[in-house]
Subunit: 100 residues, 2 copies
């Protein structure tokens, strides 16, 4: 579809024509976010298993420190960042969501 | 800190020693997720401006289609995926969260 021939110009209006490259990048970013969350979830669950193995105890205080660090990391997005961080923490604990 | 010399072995127990590389990767993934969400948010807001420019109308139906596609993309994480998708959509619309 090229703008200069005019003939191929989208029937509706040029908005669709302009948005397509933006939409494609948003979709690619979503895939990247999904892949990172899949990997993060698997790692966090592995962490959980590692920390409660035989003869191993990691203090709940250090666990709390780590979770607060995640909340701080996402704080730039205010309440939405808090919601994001809580989702990542729950996924990592193995609550709702697919097995790794 | 090496396991074989024993002397450097962490006082608490070996859990902290084992988890450090996992924690470092989780942190790196969080940074990657944050950067992708920052970029996605900026793009989605640019999309919004593009779609409602002078003489441009993109049907709300196609807008709904796009939002449903985002929900489907994150469906692998069940309810947590839905929460994630809704956060990304709200950030993209410019509701709570930093300006792009």
């Amino acid at each position: 579809m090229t703008a200069d021939t005019g003939a191929d110009y989208p029937a509706e209006n040029d908005a669709e024509y302009l948005v397509e490259p933006l939409l494609a990048e948003v979709e690619a970013l979503d895939e990247l976010i999904l892949a990172a969350i899949r990997r993060r979830t698997a790692l966090a669950r592995q962490l959980g298993r590692t920390m409660i193995g035989p003869g191993r105890t990691v203090s709940s205080r250090s666990q709390q420190h780590r979770e607060l660090a995640v909340l701080r990391r996402f704080a730039e997005f205010d309440q939405e960042g808090r919601t994001l961080a809580m989702v990542l923490l729950r996924l990592g604990r193995g609550r709702p969501g697919p097995a790794p």
